[in-house]
């Protein structure tokens, strides 16, 4: 039972990280209908900037928590500026282009950022410093660290704040209006372009935070980390119903749990025929299953045939 509980904890932590990244995808998709493929790379940049800041300040003897705070305060503006640039120069000119053009442009940005990061941070894997003391809590025989608790809490908090912002603030109202119909929103006096830029920038700030959490949880950062993470997070967003904030959280958690329990129990479930080497198949099969029966994702509204 403690093993099962441990797998649940593993899954929830992984899922929280997916959810944090998925929020960025889902916000942009919700407002523009665009897969921001480069979002994973923005997370990567966030993680590497945090890494640099932390290792630079490490000799100063400041407590690690403070270091983490400073690093995210540096990483967030960098990511925001980056996202602003990406939106302004790679996506905005393509807003009325054929549907696949922004996707290819995003792939281009993704390749560009990866190689830029490789030039700046080199090819090595970097050991991410510990940001919290290694305190363990024991829950029914399973271990959960302070960092993991904080990760889960942070993801939940972020989601709550975002939901509140979108449902209750003027900015959120403007975002929803833009998502509904940009042209009419414009007529109503909403600065559509500024709203879209803001969405990107908020997503990027979340990416910086996600980067820090990924680095800290798995204690490694490198220029290649964004791609797979982005892909998984995007899968999570689709699973939950892309464009939906709660859906992203749900999708992330679900994907994390599927991966963790899949790796843990696939062997027993299939009588030893499939092992943990088929872990990723599980995630994709569930995704296909969900989409076949609910084409809009779990929380998504029914997509019209024209979507």
């Amino acid at each position: 039972m403690d093993i099962f509980l441990q797998q649940i904890i593993n899954g929830v932590v992984l899922g929280s990280i997916y959810a944090l990244v998925a929020l960025g995808y889902t916000m942009v998709y919700g407002i523009l209908g665009l897969i921001n493929f480069a979002h994973g790379e923005v997370v990567m940049i966030g993680a590497l900037v945090s890494y640099s800041v932390m290792t630079a300040l490490l000799p100063s003897g400041m407590p690690p928590v403070l270091l983490a705070l400073i690093s995210v305060l540096v990483a967030a503006p960098v990511c925001m500026a980056l996202a602003w640039g990406i939106e302004r120069y790679a996506y905005r000119p393509l807003r009325h282009a054929p549907k696949l053009a922004p996707l290819i442009s995003a792939i281009g940005v993704s390749i560009l950022l990866q190689n830029l990061a490789m030039m700046i941070w080199g090819r090595s894997y970097h050991a991410f410093p510990d940001i919290l003391p290694a305190i363990h809590f024991d829950i029914g025989g399973a271990q959960i660290t302070l960092l993991q608790t904080v990760t889960i809490g942070l993801a939940a908090l972020t989601m709550a704040i975002l939901s509140w912002m979108i449902q209750r603030t003027t900015l959120g109202q403007a975002m929803r209006a833009t998502a509904e119909n940009p042209a009419i929103a414009e007529l109503m006096g909403i600065p559509v372009n500024r709203i879209i830029t803001l969405t990107f920038i908020i997503g990027a700030a979340l990416a910086a935070l996600a980067g820090l959490m990924v680095g800290a949880n798995y204690s490694v950062a490198h220029y290649y980390m964004g791609f797979m993470l982005g892909l998984k997070a995007f899968t999570a967003a689709v699973l939950g119903g892309i464009g939906n904030i709660t859906g992203a959280m749900l999708g992330g958690l679900l994907l994390g749990l599927i991966e963790s329990l899949g790796a843990g129990y696939i062997e027993d479930l299939t009588g030893g025929f499939l092992g943990s080497n088929y872990q990723d198949i599980f995630a994709f099969l569930v995704l296909i299953g969900v989409l076949v029966f609910r084409p809009g994702g779990l929380m998504g509204e029914r997509v019209s045939e024209r979507a």
Binding site: H96, I242, F273, A307
Partner: protein, 378 residues
């Protein structure tokens, strides 16, 4: 079914029944025939090998173009069909199972099985559109790769991550293309023989693609691409037509995969990663979705361009700054990424779109049509 039969009958008819510019075509034929010799003599076998790979990518891009360009279904796991074709060849013509079947048996089987996989992918995803389809197809591609990578236990089928080596080269009876081919009046080096084989295959595929586009099925695909609901209302059996798109596209991929395995004589799952799918998609979109010459151009460009960067990145820096400041290898990929962004920025419908499609897009841009922006719930 009747429709498909009629369409295949039409395939055999010549596309240009009347006045053909024989001279231009003859010139083109001559150029294509002499190309390997020119390239090998002028630039070395490296470029001839790259040219051969480029032809394989032309086949792949044309296959994906049927799904993405003609039918408007975004497939991001296309490389899976290439993998199926390649592995079928590898299994049926290597010491792995001790089978050494000939080309005329394997290639149709490879094409058929790949087509079947196409239907397998298409069937559950019929209802999905756009980005949802993209992520599911991407997952499908990964699933195939994961299976290939792991099917070495409990029964060793694919030899797992080690890949399958010592695959038979393409051969006709006792004549193997891996050895210099003596035709009596001329001896073809292996790379040149492969070039001709790939050229014939590519030309066949181009021919089929052109016929498909102009056929009734092709028009049905275009109708679905533009508006699925309207297409359905017009009496098009959207389910069958979509499945046919997946199957046809997959078939091309299967053929290209088989030829790849015979050429390379080694396959391993690494060759069929997600990035390959993305690359082929880039070829289609960059070249000009749905426009056959554009897609061919895109495939040639994206095969040659990275190699070109590889050749010039170092020397150019050397002459500009006197030393190599930035690693040529990272610069190569950096420039490639930048090129993708810039091309999409200034030629969003691709470098060589069909004139008709370009007009449509320009119209849309001029009208700044707001209803074109997808609407999603937040």
């Amino acid at each position: 079914m009747k429709m498909t039969a009629r369409f295949f009958a039409r395939l055999t008819r010549h596309p240009n029944d009347n006045r053909v510019h024989w001279l231009a075509w003859a010139l083109l034929g001559l150029l294509l025939a002499s190309l390997p010799w020119l390239v090998a003599a002028g630039f070395g076998n490296t470029w001839l090998r790259i040219l051969n790979f480029a032809l394989l990518y032309v086949m792949l891009a044309l296959g994906l173009n049927i799904v993405v360009g003609f039918a408007g279904l975004l497939d991001m796991g296309y490389i899976a069909f290439y993998a199926v074709g390649a592995y079928l060849w590898a299994l049926l013509a290597s010491p792995q199972f001790g089978l050494h079947w000939p080309l005329w048996a394997i290639l149709p089987i490879g094409a058929g099985v790949a087509g079947l996989f196409g239907v397998m992918l298409g069937a559950p995803t019929l209802k999905l559109r756009g980005d949802y389809l993209a992520i599911v197809t991407l997952g499908f591609g990964e699933i195939i790769r994961i299976f290939l990578n792991n099917l070495n236990a409990p029964v060793n089928i694919t030899n797992g991550p080690q890949g399958i080596s010592a695959i038979d080269a393409v051969h006709f009876g006792n004549v193997s293309l891996a050895r210099p081919l003596d035709l009596g009046f001329i001896t073809l080096p292996p790379l040149v023989s492969y070039y001709y084989l790939f050229l014939v295959a590519a030309l066949l595929i181009i021919g089929i693609a052109i016929r498909l586009e102009r056929s009734r099925v092709g028009r049905a695909w275009a109708a679905i691409r533009e508006d699925e609901v309207a297409a359905k209302a017009c009496g098009i059996n959207t389910r069958n037509v979509k499945l046919l798109a997946f199957a046809m596209g997959a078939t091309f991929g299967g053929v290209a995969g088989g030829l790849f395995a015979g050429f390379q004589q080694f396959v391993s799952p690494e060759s069929f990663g997600l990035l390959e799918s993305v690359m082929v998609l880039c070829m289609v979109v960059l070249g000009g979705m749905g426009h056959i010459p554009g897609v061919i151009f895109g495939a040639l460009l994206l095969t040659v361009l990275p190699e070109f960067f590889r050749q010039i990145a170092g020397p150019v820096q050397q002459s500009l700054f006197g030393s190599v400041l930035v690693d040529p290898e990272s610069l190569r990929m950096l420039l490639f990424g930048l090129a993708l962004v810039l091309v999409m920025r200034y030629r969003p419908s691709g470098l060589w779109p069909s004139p008709q499609r370009r007009r449509e897009i320009e119209d849309v841009q001029r009208a700044d049509a707001p209803q074109d922006v997808p609407v999603s719930p937040m």
